[in-house]
């Protein structure tokens, strides 16, 4: 490949607030059209906006968490353009004094170890969401203003991303970070996380760098489409350049929409009038002054973020990068859960196995948050510790856990009622071995005659012995006593 892809992301995130950015009506998704409006969100004549303090605080938290520098004096501006989903025909946004600039996001490397690294951010700013337009019948579009005025945070990256895979990873990491921060639910399906990508390519030709015209890709509705669309667009731009030779100097920025079913980008209708947003200070809002004490207070409220947590899980608990990532990327509540189990057992790897295999499986099957998982981290740690102390074998542990999940009863009660105490009494196990041999005479013959591999025969007999004890025998003890018995019989 003789070109480099230059990618910058522009992400819009709805903040999780009870009320809209500038008025008290709700922010729910999926309501019947136009049932979540009030005079302010309809842009009615005479109405005025008043800033939602929580929205500002959440945005501030994000910017601080992303290492951005906080503007001590920030103000609001009007971005003027006519569109039916924008009731006032101006969007209250931030222009020359956004509340934060800079910052960065650490992108984790790909599974094969390639890619990843730091992506710088240009700015984070706050604005209001628009309503929704749907194409109706009879030459009309329907306007639904339920979404109009929901607090929206815009995060713009520098064009520092170089592969479609990293673009996807960057967006995923951003989502994870925002979810850890609790500032947004980031559901792409519901539109609470939306991403546009600015893409062009730098072609190496005879030692010269040639940049193609920049394309803004819209309509990226999933993480996969971010990756696919950028890949497609890079190839398309290369072919286009081979055909017409146009560079960034010859053509203005173009907007193209991604069509997921077709797997292509298509030119979106050119704007009828050149965009001239005529920004000016919003006279209905007052500026915000953020002092150091405020920043410090918000900083103190920020917990450990995914990138740091992965690192710690690897260094403190000795987990593989893979395991650390699985636990972290499920979300903060899962990572917290694991953290608690790991700390209470000291058996970090074992705790990771239990959480990944036994807890997450059920959580996923039942589609519940881990907070609703019936067995808390202390109870799971207790169970794991019992296995560690050989009070239960692993299979018993699993069964007990299953009953704890189903009944919600305490571990002791289940062990008691189910008779799950592990059998470690030698005479009982020896009796079970003898019974197993007696009912399977062929096994001993096979072993003596060398017809089957000794390990296979031993394995079969071990299973029979476990069966005789109702699965309760200490597996280690069964192994050593069986070995001894067979040695005695075959010598």
């Amino acid at each position: 490949m003789d070109y480099t892809i230059i990618i910058g992301l522009e992400v819009h995130v709805q903040l999780t607030t009870e009320s809209k950015m500038f008025t008290s009506c709700g922010t729910d998704f999926g309501l019947p059209p136009n049932t979540q409006t009030d005079p302010v969100s309809l842009g009615m004549p005479g109405t005025l906006p008043v800033m939602n303090g929580k929205a500002f605080e959440l945005a501030l938290k994000t910017a601080i968490a992303l290492g951005a520098s906080i503007t001590p004096f920030t103000k609001w501006d009007r971005k003027n353009y006519y569109y039916p989903d924008l009731p006032k025909n101006y969007q209250i946004s931030q222009y020359d004094l956004p509340f934060s600039t800079g910052g960065w996001l650490e992108i984790p490397p790909q599974k094969d170890g390639s890619g990843g690294g730091r992506c710088s951010l240009t700015r984070v700013h706050l604005e209001e969401d628009t309503g929704k337009l749907t194409h109706g019948a009879g030459g009309f579009s329907e306007v639904d203003l339920n979404r109009a005025g929901i607090p929206l945070m815009e995060i713009v990256s520098e064009p520092e991303i170089r592969t479609p895979q990293d673009a996807k990873a960057c967006l995923e990491e951003l989502r994870l970070t925002l979810r850890y921060l609790g500032v947004s639910d980031c559901e792409m399906q519901e539109g609470s996380l939306r991403c546009d990508a600015n893409v062009n390519i730098h072609i190496d030709k005879d030692g010269q760098k040639i940049a193609t015209p920049i394309v803004e890709i819209k309509n990226l509705n999933s993480f996969r489409s971010v990756e696919r669309a950028i890949q497609y667009e890079a190839e398309r731009q290369y072919e286009q350049w081979q055909r017409d030779g146009k560079t960034i100097k010859d053509a203005p920025k173009q907007t193209r929409g991604w069509s997921d079913p077709d797997g292509i980008t298509k030119v979106q209708r050119e704007k009828e009038t050149a965009a001239d947003y005529r920004y000016f200070p919003e006279p209905d809002l007052v500026p915000v002054v953020v002092d150091e004490a405020w920043v410090a207070r918000v900083k103190a409220s920020i917990g450990e973020l995914p990138f740091a947590r992965r690192k710690r899980f690897a260094s403190e608990y000795g987990l593989s990068d893979y395991d650390a990532n699985v636990l972290v990327e499920q979300g903060q509540d899962v990572a917290d859960y694991y953290d608690a189990v790991a700390k209470a057992t000291g058996a970090y790897k074992l705790a990771s196995n239990w959480v990944q295999q036994d807890v997450l499986r059920v959580v996923k099957e039942r589609k519940i948050p881990i907070g609703d998982f019936p067995v808390g981290p202390e109870a799971l740690a207790d169970l794991i510790n019992r296995v560690g102390r050989s009070e239960l074998n692993t299979n018993q542990g699993r069964e007990v856990l299953a009953k704890m999940i189903d009944t919600g009863e305490a571990v002791d009660a289940i062990i008691e009622a189910g008779g799950y105490k592990m059998v470690s009494d030698e005479s009982t196990i020896v009796a079970a071995i003898e019974a197993a041999l007696a009912s399977n005479p062929k096994a001993l013959e096979d072993l003596k005659g060398g017809k089957k591999k000794p390990d296979a025969v031993k394995g079969f007999l071990r299973g029979q012995v476990m069966k005789q004890t109702g699965g309760k025998a200490d597996p280690a003890l069964v192994g050593s006593l069986l070995d001894a018995k067979l040695a005695e019989l075959t010598s």
Partner: protein
């Protein structure tokens, strides 16, 4: 007694003593309106039954001995850019001819809670853009002193309503002089409070950083009372200020401790009518006789007030009025077929918006939207809009400097008395200059007051303007009261019978 020759304060005394009922008062005003409104055209919308109904409620409250509000039973006229729930609110524009807001403006809530009786919504220049009410889409109001002359604007209907005794008090709004100028031309008192002394929630915006609601009345006692009721912090207006609201009526009659008056030199230049000039100088002598020290002061950037204003206000209006595009509310054109080859290129949605706005707005509104759009547009914003904001700072600094040496600034409210219909309609710029003395206070955000101070030989009212530092309304009213007590201009009524 004839209640329509009264003031709010005297009516309240009569009603509280039981001498007259709110229903009788309201009926008297309604009868007078019925008789004379055809000549004055102060109103765009009235609902006599609703007014009487409210009056009867107030009477019942009074009879029951229950607490009644501070304006209980007082009729009030309301500029038709203040939103009234379920009641037409048109801004005198075809655009909003059928608009009924689903909510009340904060000032409307406050006067309702005080027991005032809305007597109707008053005429104005469309979207408050103008100085004569000639820009009303529904025809102009007449000056009760001379029906061939304009009542001033943009709050011309509210001023005419009080001058014609259709209501003892009314509410207007002032973006560049729209209360003070019509008050002066109609011979009544008009106050533009400090910016954000009164909540703007529910005031249909013209220029948000300049608009301010204020009272009209015959005398300062009524001004003080109405201001006290409408002023104060409103959680729905982020820019409203929570500075405490003084008890203006209580202190009104106490002369100010300090009476240092500054005469604004720049307000006495070319274009000032000699009769107006003489009346203002006579007013100054009244103050001197009352013990004031009067000196001339300079506001050196005054002449830049109008040009700065005609950039800032149109810029904000171009954005504030963008919402009227025929989509969510307001007028939508029936036919938006292309009228030119260029239009044929445009999507139907844009043609709908363009046609709706072309039909819905009058020429002055279009002119200001165009001017403001231009002033904010790429490549021009620095030279025009941003330069105007800097000049605005210089104008504010002028006032700050002046108020170091004087308590109150005075000058004429308008360069001339009321002019005739059509006199300035052909030349927008000439019309703009009729606000030349009032504009700078809006840019600076300070309060300004116009009180009657004389009549021309042909019997037209002249207004004296007083200006005070931000939030010094109390001092402003008390200083004006010194003049009111020493003269009887505020008792003069037009011979409208």
């Amino acid at each position: 007694m004839d209640p329509t020759r009264s003031t709010a304060v005297t009516l309240l005394a009569e009603m509280n003593s039981g001498a007259i009922s709110a229903e009788e008062v309201t009926r008297a005003y309604l009868d007078r309106i019925d008789r004379l409104e055809g000549r004055i055209k102060a109103f765009l919308h009235r609902d006599a039954d609703a007014s009487l109904e409210k009056a009867r409620e107030i009477d019942a409250l009074r009879r029951a001995g229950g607490p009644v509000g501070e304006l209980a039973g007082v009729p009030i006229a309301i500029k038709d850019l203040l939103c009234t729930r379920g009641v037409p609110t048109t801004c005198a524009s075809k655009m909003l001819a059928t608009f009924r807001p689903p909510y009340d403006a904060t000032v409307i809530e406050r006067i309702n809670a005080a027991g005032a009786i809305s007597i109707g919504k008053t005429n104005m220049d469309e979207f408050a853009m103008g100085s004569s009410t000639e820009n009303s889409a529904f025809g102009p109001s007449k000056n009760p002193w001379d029906e061939e002359r304009i009542p001033g604007g943009s709050s011309g209907g509210s001023a005419a309503a009080v001058a014609a005794d259709f209501a003892p008090i009314s509410l207007g709004s002032d973006t560049g002089g729209s209360i003070r100028q019509p008050a002066a031309l109609c011979g009544i008192v008009g106050l533009k409070p400090t910016y954000e002394r009164v909540s703007r929630y529910g005031l249909i915006a013209f220029a948000s950083s300049l608009d301010q609601i204020g009272p009209f009345s015959h005398d300062l006692a009524d001004t003080a009372l109405l201001l006290k009721i409408i002023a104060g912090k409103d959680p729905r207006d982020a820019t409203s200020v929570d500075t405490p609201v003084p008890d203006y009526p209580k202190t009104l009659d106490t002369p100010p401790e300090s009476l240092r008056i500054g005469l604004v030199r720049e307000f006495f230049g070319d274009g000032l009518d000699p009769e107006v000039d003489a009346a203002i100088r006579e007013a100054v002598r009244v103050y001197e006789a009352a013990g004031a020290t009067v000196r001339e002061v300079s506001l050196p950037h005054s002449k830049y007030g109008a040009p700065a204003y005609y950039l800032v206000a149109p810029a904000e209006c171009s954005s504030n009025l963008a919402r009227y595009d025929g989509t969510i509310f307001g007028h939508r054109a029936e036919n938006f077929d292309p009228i030119s080859p260029a239009e044929a290129e445009l999507p139907v949605l844009i043609r709908m918006m363009m046609a709706s706005r072309a039909e819905g707005f009058g020429p002055e509104v279009k002119r200001r939207i165009m001017l403001g759009t231009f002033a904010l547009s790429a490549g021009y914003a620095d030279q025009y809009y941003n330069q105007a904001l800097k000049v605005r700072r210089l104008i504010r600094n002028d006032f700050d400097t002046a108020f170091k040496d004087v308590d109150i600034l005075v000058g004429p409210t308008t360069p001339t008395a009321a002019f005739k219909f059509g006199e300035k309609t052909a030349d927008p710029l000439a019309m703009y200059l009729s606000d030349i003395y009032t504009i700078t206070t809006n840019l600076a955000g300070i309060p300004g007051l116009s009180i009657p101070c004389g009549l021309t030989k042909s019997g037209l009212p002249i207004g004296l303007q007083l200006m005070a530092p931000a939030f010094a309304e109390e001092k402003l009213l008390r200083t004006a009261r010194v003049f009111e007590k020493a003269t009887d201009w505020h008792t003069k009524r037009p011979g409208l019978v």
